[in-house]
Symmetry: C2
Subunit: 451 residues, 2 copies
């Protein structure tokens, strides 16, 4: 028995009700108000902010997890959306244009016809196929349910935690646990944390992480898990809880099974309109691939900003409009204690792999005029193409006010600016905010001597 659409209108089915999915719905309804929109959300929440999870676990946001929910399912329903929580899409039949749905509360299965479809199935923590990976103590930190469980465990005390992986989420989780005074070991396979930074800058972050009381071990390959221990090539590390922070894999199984084309790292292939390989079927967010604006390569970069923007683009197009998501720079920011860390564009490695002859510029300056109270050190790294001076990437480490300066670089890189353009930019100066030459401008100025 299959639900079919109302006569005279079309039905759009949206799989995934997080912030991105619900943003898409709002665009679809704006563009085609008479269409029927059905949202299928596997979990109990909608419009939630997964990026806030480490801060919730760290106790910074108080006890009420609903602060991470921008809009509740009830609120969405009141505005007239057919929103079905605890409802998992288990199969997509492209030929008959039908989604198979399982109601996880009643275990009832049913089919739902669609005219157009948006797949926003998101991502999941990467789970390497190691012995013991399925032990209950090995957890992700991707859902609000994860967050509640982890916060409860961390608050109870007496726990020994191992975080596997030291990307932004791994570091944020480790810091969160340290705030709760939970002894935490971070195991990183590579020689550096934060692989999206150049090694020498990552080394500085590593020093700050260790000074912050976290036992960060680089070059530590995890080979398996046992109750009470993480096994590495160098021996066992005691653990009551293991948090996977080695990255996010695209949830593309459903799309793959339906016959949709996949791309890099198994993410759903989409064009710049968020169209998949099937007519009338769109995808957005962590389950999809996109394009890197500097290297031109197809990439899978699961970030909340992209999910929201791509969902908006997909929603506009599903609503009959014409919108485009041009690609990404991999801009990212976090902080460890007082140290702000940000990056955009190509790293040295990425630039080299993409065939650029890149010059590396590094300057140490202050966040404010040197004489103004609270001036903190800031390091700006720029990568620029030798000869042309085109800016390819930027990385920033520094005290309060340092990190968001990366946006200046992100805009400059997108505009294909050279170091000279960046030096000429009219950046804001007053002693409480910047030296008279902004650190980014200083880096551009020094870079001109090198390219």
């Amino acid at each position: 028995m299959s639900e079919t659409g109302r006569s005279g209108s079309e039905r759009v089915v949206v799989i995934g009700g997080d912030a991105g999915g619900m943003a898409a719905v709002s665009q679809i309804r704006k563009g085609r108000p008479h269409d029927e929109v059905v949202v299928l959300e596997r979990g109990r929440w909608t419009s939630y902010a997964a990026c806030g999870i480490p801060f919730y676990v760290g106790g910074e946001l108080g006890d009420d997890i609903s602060s991470l929910v921008a809009r509740s399912p009830e609120a969405h329903r009141r505005s007239g959306i057919d929103l079905r929580t605890s409802s998992e899409a288990t199969a997509i039949d492209l030929a008959s244009r039908r989604v198979e749905v399982r109601d996880l509360e009643t275990d009832r299965a049913y089919q739902l016809d669609f005219d157009r479809l948006l797949i926003g199935t998101g991502g999941r923590p990467m789970r390497p196929p190691l012995p013991g990976i399925d032990l209950e103590m090995v957890q992700g930190a991707h859902t609000l349910d994860d967050a509640q469980r982890l916060a409860q465990l961390a608050g109870a005390g007496g726990l020994r935690v191992v975080v596997v992986g030291s990307g932004f989420i791994g570091i944020e989780m480790a810091e969160a646990l340290t705030r709760r005074e939970v002894p935490t070991v971070v195991l990183e396979r590579l020689d550096q944390p934060l692989a999206i930074l150049d090694p020498d800058l990552a080394e500085r972050v590593a020093a700050a992480i260790r000074a912050g009381g976290i036992d960060l071990r680089t070059g530590a390959e995890v080979v398996g898990f046992e109750p009470g221990a993480v096994l590495t090539a160098d021996g066992a590390v005691a653990a009551d809880l293991v948090i996977l922070g080695i990255g996010t894999a695209p949830n593309s199984d459903l799309a793959h099974a339906a016959g949709l084309e996949l791309g890099v790292r198994g993410a759903i292939r989409v064009d710049d309109h968020q169209r998949t390989s099937a007519d009338g079927v769109y995808a957005a967010g962590d389950c999809t691939e996109t394009v890197h604006l500097v290297t031109g390569e197809r990439v899978h970069v699961p970030l909340g900003t992209y999910a929201n923007k791509q969902a908006r683009v997909a929603g506009i197009n599903l609503g009959g409009g014409d919108a485009r998501f041009p690609g990404v720079l991999g801009t990212a920011i976090t902080r460890f204690g007082e140290l702000e860390i940000s990056r955009t564009g190509a790293s040295s490695d990425e630039a080299a792999r993409a065939g650029f002859d890149a010059v590396t510029i590094t300057v140490d300056a202050n966040t404010r005029a040197h004489y103004y109270p609270g001036a903190a050190p800031i390091t700006v790294r720029l990568l620029a193409e030798r000869g042309t001076g085109r800016v390819l990437g930027a990385q920033i480490l520094g005290g309060p006010g340092a990190g968001k300066r990366i946006d200046t670089c992100a805009v400059a890189i997108t505009a294909r600016w050279t170091l000279q353009d960046l030096l000429d930019a009219d950046l804001a100066y007053a002693p409480p905010f910047s030296p008279v030459w902004d650190p980014v401008a200083i880096a551009a100025r020094e870079g001109l001597k090198l390219v």
Copy 2:
């Protein structure tokens, strides 16, 4: 009796030894190491940061004013520069290529031949020709000597101060005095403070200024000064000290007397290489005009960043290189208490005067994720050209972390971006730094509905 150059080399004379002048010297020496460089500085300091004066007066920088001096005259001399402090250039003879100099300590006058010349005579507080303007109680806040005198007066207590004018310097001075618990009245001729903001946003700043304990009176035209009082159309305001904050006039008398062409507001006319109308004579900084990158108009915008960059450009050119200063956006930033205030590009008024049909976009958002501690309100205003969506200007008010976001807009405006480009920009997001849509992106997104 005139000093002539060493044989086999040329002599460059630099008039003005503040940070800009000395930056130029370093470029000249780099480009033409065998040239002789003589710097004439009227005051006792070199490489000083006049922008720090309000913060020094407010007691934020401690008692030692030398913190505002990046490099002392002695340090410059040790590096081999013929630096003459207390030395005023009193005339320039372009025909015989000679500067007349007065040594203010010995009162000796002499002449100095030059092959090439850089004029960096800076600016001075505007002094309207009102009765009593020359009373000793009417002071500027432009030099380090001013700063020391004002700090001493403010520290002594029992003073009633009137600040005339409510531009950035006027507001910063008033806040500084309030920090010292000096009762302060600000008199502003216009209906709003901070004329470089749109009126409605300026009104919000006015409310904050008044809530901060400053008696800000708009629409208050000063008609004269008497010992103990400032006279306005609405009566006398008691004052033991009057600080002029109505703007900076170019110090171009010397250049004008020499026959150099002047431009807007009496500033020295220069081209994009900082060349004046006379061969081999350059000028830079507050004494010169420049070009506004949005309106295309010639403007006089006396800011420390421009002075430094223009001086660098002049220095490179004087050293035989080829550098260019492309123009400005009038980017500015300040803070009043916790409120950060910034702007760039054209204001609504400026856009209208330049003939643009501009749409005004205003959004209220948060500096951080709404659930993250310390999230503060931020208002972003964008001006965009109707039809094309080209971004023409931006203004930002908000809590900590708000102000420097103006740099994102400044780069976008310089790159002639549209609202769509700005929306597409890959700006950094993490809950402690931004909502998932950065407030600037939100403004761009909302603006797209209006243009």
